[in-house]
Symmetry: D2
């Protein structure tokens, strides 16, 4: 299912990362440093402006390490400098960049939440302010390649999803018609990097080491995009319960989904459904029912592990997934989607 | 609700810990070293036999540190040496000790699973062999003081519960009649010490650090005792879905419970129900709905934190708890129960 | 060597903690909550002002948990409110409090660096500004009870030492006349809590987990007090090399000291010297030469472990220590010293 | 300084890993899976025999994942199956493999200690038994490419060094003639993976998390090879003091070296000496004096960071290094050395 060769091969795409001092931005740099087509030429960071990349990011090739962070002030004409832009800035901050860059015809991959929900009312419900650029919502494509591959090949504005949605949507989509729509309960365990690289007391080592807790209930911000994608796949409105937990790990996310089966399935049936959906996908590892996903198996990769198990005592389906919340849940999946938008093999730079 | 002064005060109870090389046994020693009535006089451990306690357990008072571990061979007449026995040996191994000690009229607190389910058929279903001492099941009392206080005051054989059951039963019991009995989904995150101090590859630092995963699905061994206690409280058979997860933390356990409400409750109603059930309990900390339990707040203590929240989007109740899986989930709760059995203030040695 | 009964026993000392939002302040509260004589009546914290203590500090007795943090503005007459003051604020900030409180005759235990060096020139050399209250330096007593017990019994101003100095001075003092004075090389590994609870990027979980590094070379701020105390014990000027390292642990500190022996010693000789110096000390655990200190054995305690070993290949002495950098290296040692100043058994509230 | 093109390019070298169930073996597989010339064709592991590689090692290309572990029983003719053999078995076990494979003319890279010291007496001194194959010691080349590049290009038996030696030898060699030979004191902090993947209580998560300690003093086994290499570089016998510490991290090692300067150097001089020695090396990152190596900057890489600082108060040189104890300290350096032995660019498969 890996498309390739559809356009004459691109030699090089001038690429920019906007906002590269956070964990997402740094992860993008790690992947882009090895990408054979997307050539980094602009990296912005207010915090690190003027410094060479090598000071914050170790192990870069020398020529890339010598590139300096720039501060993208308004008079700095970003759009002229590159053709592909990854936005790794907070939601609300991303939209104005996207508007300006799209006016100049540039391709934009936004890692914030600004373009993930197609309905601006949902954005307002979950982010407590009006959508900053509703006119662009129509052209944004939700960036999970395994679900929206065809549309991503034509996309100029990609809304790269968050880590929770990816870890929930991919396992659930093949089963949304097999389970009771109103019975879905989701628990996720997330590494701390998902909260970003921010100066907050709760993110100190001393507050997280030897600690863990649930948070963000009952209405976490990512529910908007999660329920949008599940409803789309089910053909009807789906509302779920979602409880995220913070655990003392830097990167990684595992998700456990429990739902009432509409009619009985065996472990074998469930495995078969997953295999049919994802057996040919290069970045989805379908595990047999007796093997459960674990965090470290996918760290520093663009892979997601998924497995399914039936609880015959209660006739419930149990789904499990594991991904790197900075990888398949963030930076590397954004590159996978951008590969499609530029007609490349989607594995380019990710293997 | 803390009973005291019901019998003339005991000066001293000769106390033994059987099997003190594991994490449970070591934790018992830490608590018993400071207990004003239960005086440690025998500590058995095949592995450490002949060594002074001070070599494995630091910070003990000198006279206690000088006590040596003994190997309780069959001809070593354990029963003569003490009046209160804590069994911290694996299930299956504990039962023969309990039989012999009960024959001699001794009080036994068993931290294994051997006497937790009153029906030997349930034991067999979950532990895959016949119950080793079914005749004793009738006199065993399940050791959660907040639920079985009256019976524990008369108990001679206490079945101290596991950490998962304590973290699930205490939050759920006040609500079992408020939720749909067949809708309960439980997720727990456990520290590694819950698995014991065993030579297994999966327990190496290198296998757990930076890692996490679900396990033990769909039918974890502790479901037998959990469903027994919930059914008892509900007055009808309750079957739940339970998914434990291992996280890179040594001690601590947080549990998240999701259940469909039979009729609507507000956050305030739920808080009131918890307050009514546990407001006077010395070791239960009921948190307001906006505050969620966290692991470190109860580490090295006999306390459990509980809070409740209503998800109005789905009319579900969310319950949260946190305890130390070696404390309220294990050793210190065993001492709390033993305090009751000896007519002491149940806080003795635990404050 | 534990003095007691020297004055009529005190029923209660009104006690204040100034600056209780950091890790030192919180640790003081944990110990003081259980202290039978020092009764907490004032706790200041700008950050938490108005909140009950129970909101930040879990497991406090109810009456103490209900006490609220106050903001000690200038018109808040602190001195009237208590008789013993623990200052847990940054260096430079502590001195003005000490001046005002000493004018009112109050006893002050300062956990900052403001009164640790008796010579204001040394303060200026290491802290880059003039000493804020040189007139008080004369009456300050350096707060290591095992070294300055006699003076501490008369002290009104105690300069509680830092964690590095305690971990270095205690093992070295008995040997300063056995080693070449100019040959001492010290390495320490410190838990993150030593850096305090500050909003700095380098203290985020994501920056410390899976990471470690040396820092603060070649002239760490604590060298001033360390060399002062070693020189005092040696009767001549001692200058050392000191390299601290940060490791991914919250609390704990281990120190390794290497020095050229002036004449040969055996392992047995070295052990005997330590036993003679500290064998009767309640909080010093002298280990045999074959056993090396470890962090967890002293966590959450006021104990320090020390052992000595001779490297016969190079005729060097190796000294090892372990302490809790919030315990014997900070809060609990400050209480030990205050116990002496109030004529109490120095173990009061610390056992 | 990277040699290449000296022989006609090799298409493919049949490669075997002997003993792939430990951390070294697994790390070798991760690197070899991406190596363009060394093609894995045999992987032995008694423990995993019969299983596909994909079951233990995640993220392998499918064809490689399908390869199964074999048990290399005596009648299994290993030598026929490959031309390059990496031995990742314990010391003592490796030598017989090496003898047999060298008889058949195969190239052997031994990751154990069996061929690291050229004098069998030193082996016996540190490993407490006679050397198992002294006749082979003459042809073994110590596998640090930056020190022994010329000899490695001709090597058929490579003794890949341990992690401690690499982290100590590389920083020290350029300075051995600048410091007093008898003044060297070395402290290392090592991640747990350095101890291997063994069933030992001390390696459990519960024993290492929140813990740290010095060990292996005063005569750690690796001193033999360290002093051999330092003495070789200095042209005279060098004896050092070495104190390793275990810290709660899986992979990573930082080393701090302190030595008396024979005559004064500035920070700038020391930096210049490092630059001259390693400025052109692809895997050595010389940091400026104000920047100290940290563990995470080199994790999952073949790089070592080094910096130097002068302590002018004591006229001592401080050297710092950081490497991944499974990377430059183990598996990837073994591949770097093997690249040289096969006439490849030494960066092949490591960039």
């Amino acid at each position: 299912m890996v498309p390739q060769g559809e356009r004459p091969e691109l030699q090089s795409v001038r690429t920019a990362v906007v906002g590269a001092s956070g964990y997402s931005g740094q992860e993008l740099l790690q992947y882009l440093a090895r990408h054979p087509v997307f050539h980094l030429c602009i990296v912005t960071s207010r915090q690190n402006a003027g410094q060479p990349l090598s000071q914050s990011i170790h192990g870069l090739p020398r020529e890339l390490g010598a590139l300096t962070f720039v501060d993208a002030t308004p008079d700095f004409n970003l759009a002229e400098k590159a053709d592909l832009f990854f936005l790794a800035v907070p939601h609300g901050t991303a939209a104005p960049y996207a508007v300006a860059l799209r006016e100049d015809g540039k391709t934009v991959v936004d890692l914030s939440a600004d373009f993930r929900t197609s309905d601006p009312a949902i954005y307002q419900e979950f982010y407590d302010h009006e959508h900053p650029a509703p006119a662009l919502l129509g052209e944004a494509v939700y960036g999970i390649p395994e679900i929206h591959r065809a549309r991503l090949k034509l996309a100029k504005l990609i809304a790269a999803p968050g880590c929770f949605p990816t870890s929930i949507i991919l396992p659930l989509v093949p089963f949304v018609k097999h389970v009771e729509a109103d019975s879905i309960v989701v628990t996720s365990l997330t590494g701390v990097s998902g909260a970003g690289r921010k100066l907050e007391l709760r993110l100190l080592f001393g507050e997280i080491n030897d600690n863990m807790y649930a948070y963000g209930v009952p209405k976490h911000r990512h529910l908007g995009e999660i329920e949008q994608e599940l409803s789309l796949a089910a053909g009807k409105k789906i509302t779920i319960t979602f409880v995220p937990h913070l655990v003392p790990i830097h990167r990684g996310m595992i998700t456990t989904i429990v739902a009432q089966l509409a009619k009985s399935l065996t472990d074998g049936d469930a495995y078969h459904i997953l295999q049919k959906a994802y057996g040919q996908e290069p970045f989805v590892e379908v595990l047999p029912p007796t093997q459960l996903p674990e965090a470290r198996s996918v760290t520093h990769s663009n892979r997601i592990q998924i497995s399914a198990r039936v609880d015959t005592r209660t006739n419930r389906l149990l789904l499990f997934s594991s991904l790197d919340n900075l990888g398949k849940g963030n930076a590397s999946q954004a590159i996978q989607a951008a590969n499609l938008a530029f007609g490349l093999d989607e594995r380019t730079g990710l293997a």
